[in-house]
Amino acid sequence: MRSGDDVFVAVRGRTVQILGFDRADALRLLNFLKMGLRDRFLGSTLGLVWAIVNPLLMMGIFTFVFAFVFRSRLPGAETSLSFVIWLISGYGPWLAISDSLATSTGAVTGNSGLVKNLAFKTELLPIAGSLMGLVPLAVSTCYLVALLVLSGTRPSWSWLGILPVLVLQFVFITGIGLCLAAVNVFVRDTALVLPNVLMILLFSSPIFYPLSEFPKAVQGVLQFHPFQVIAEGYRQPLLHRAWPAPWGLAYLTILSVLAFIGGLVFFRKLKGYFDARI
């Protein structure tokens, strides 16, 4: 289980390695994903149904509260439903991000039995943890599409514009997740503090309220807030039938590649010390 092979693509014998991962690792990743999904709801009567019902309930509450209780409206908009659609198009990805981060942070410590008894690349655990965020994202996107159709919007090809954003989002979050998972092995407070940090991040980014409601001075900086860029990446295609802004995509690409490579290098540097803690 030697680490530190950070060569982008390498051919060793008959196996091709990308960033130190080969085909067997890909299969194992798939295994961990299935395992993670299964274990999260293991023992519950409804099982995997919760993976869908939980985010759906959350979205339902938001729809009810903002559309019927607060009757919130976007500046210049006529219906509350458009606010809810706007909100969920940002909140859905956010839900996925927080799910990804929480799962990947605890991925190594939570699977100490595996780490101690199986020879494999431990990087795969936080990566699989981060990919778990795909479930709430899929649910919220379906919910959103349903709302859009209800509000009379016609499906559009530009909706596919969220796909590159989705990929970049997961690359970015996986990078951060790798860092947090490695740190959490040594400083267990990481996983405990994370929910609060996520809450602060949520309200400091333009997800519950539009960017225009922030003070002018802050707006310029917030433009480059990764979560704002990601949220916009979903909102442009879904709400405005426009492809995501090229600069946004470029910015996000640089950011996520840096985060992923950085996270991987950091994780591989630290994982040699895991045995002192697990």
Binding site: M1, D39, L42, G113, K116, N117, V187, G272, R277
Partner: protein
């Protein structure tokens, strides 16, 4: 002592399969050279040095310059007290820990039984645990399907196989885990202390399974403080002490030194220094073994002898044992000549054990000098000749007679 014959106190065990057969040297499947493993000792400050990088870290050396080799079809015994580094050695060989320095080479799929920890969710059923374990070890879906039935049967969990693991007793968990971890044949097994689990019935099954795997060509390492298990399973063994190999060699010798059995001092009578270490003989030929002894006291010395064989996975078996006989009533140098007419052993290498003793006050024999595998100083009896399918060749006559019905 002229004409003492084997026929006197001979008993033979009919064990199927040839004993002590010589195999050509098999290829090594586990090899490590100068293997060292140091665990970093972490405290409040050094944690940040690890995370942020830089600064020196204090380490605890768990393994130091371990070099060993295991050949295909062999199990190596690793003896050692708690904290000697046995588990660390197994995990490092199995690839769970990265070595601090040195090289590890393992040729083949590894099945690591490092602890009976279930390495998984207790809410899983036994069935699902088995499926998960196998798929994490890279077993294909089709093969898993075939193995599951066998696992259920071997673990004897019956209906419990489909119940969650948290409903299991400790013994049931151990049975499930052992069954799953040894279900794949032809693996390299790294086994840590687990053979002492379960009830006697299940232990017997465990041994049988390991024997089957061994005879099918599996190899591995058994790390334990149970020296009896090492004697049973391993031809070779080593002793680990504070991360270093302090002794190695044939299991019997290693175990004897590990236990620190007192060696008779050979004051009143001893085997002479020029006692050969190997005796050669031909199967079914009249054989004379000449054993030089040195008697230093004027009392009756008793001479005894046995031929034993070691088979992996079964352990030691007595093949022949000679009733002790009085020899040499006066001091002096003697040659005990023992003639065996038509040596009843098939070709192979056997352990020849010799005992010199005196009658104690209660009539029991007190050893004066011993050459035996239990003391790690046995002799070899090398028998050549035409291969046989039995171990011992008894003077039997066969006749098939039709029964009157």
């Amino acid at each position: 002592m002229p004409g003492s014959s084997w026929a006197g106190g001979l008993f033979a065990t009919a064990v199927p399969g040839a004993a002590g057969e010589e195999k050509p040297a098999a290829r090594p499947v586990i090899e490590c050279r100068d293997l060292s493993k140091t665990f970093v000792v972490l405290d409040g400050q050094s944690i940040w040095r690890v995370i942020l990088g830089g600064g020196c870290l204090n380490g605890f050396p768990a393994l130091r310059d371990v070099t060993l080799q295991v050949r295909q079809g062999e199990f190596l015994g690793v003896l050692g007290r708690n904290g000697a580094g046995k588990s660390t050695l197994l995990r490092t060989l199995g690839g769970v820990y990265a070595p601090t320095s040195g090289t590890v080479r393992v040729a083949g799929p590894v099945s690591g039984i490092y602890e009976l920890g279930m390495a998984g969710n207790e809410l899983l059923t036994g069935h699902d645990f088995a499926r998960r374990w196998l798929s994490l070890h890279g077993t294909g879906r089709r093969q898993i399907g075939g193995l599951l039935g066998e696992i259920a049967e071997f673990a004897e969990l019956r209906d419990y196989f489909n119940n969650p693991i948290y409903t299991y007793s400790a013994g049931m968990k151990a049975r499930l885990f052992f069954s799953v971890a040894t279900s794949l044949p032809g693996q390299i097994y790294l086994i840590d202390e687990v053979l002492s689990v379960g009830d006697e019935h299940f232990q017997t099954k465990c041994w049988r399974r390991l024997r089957e795997r061994l005879s099918a060509g599996a190899s591995g390492i058994l790390a334990t403080h149970d020296w009896a298990a090492v004697l049973k399973l391993c031809r070779e063994a080593c002793v680990l002490e504070r991360g270093r190999i302090v002794d190695r060699g044939s299991s019997s010798g290693v175990v004897q030194r590990y236990l620190g059995l007192p060696q008779p001092r050979g004051d009143s009578a001893a085997f002479a220094p020029h006692l050969p270490s190997v005796y050669c003989a031909l199967t079914e030929e009249d054989t004379t073994l000449s054993i030089p002894i040195d008697v230093r006291v004027a009392s009756v010395i008793w001479f005894g002898c046995s031929v034993e064989s070691f088979r992996q996975g079964i352990g030691w078996s007595h093949l022949l044992q000679v009733e002790p006989r009085p020899i040499a009533p006066t001091p002096g140098l003697y040659d005990v000549e023992m003639t065996i007419s038509s040596l009843p052993l098939s070709p192979g290498e056997y352990s020849l054990n010799l005992f010199l003793s005196a009658r104690g006050p209660e009539g029991t024999l007190v050893p004066l000098d011993v050459r035996s595998w239990t003391y790690g100083n046995d002799l070899t009896l090398s028998v050549a000749g035409k291969p046989r399918e039995s171990v011992t060749i008894l003077p039997l006559r066969w006749r098939g007679r039709r029964a009157l019905s």
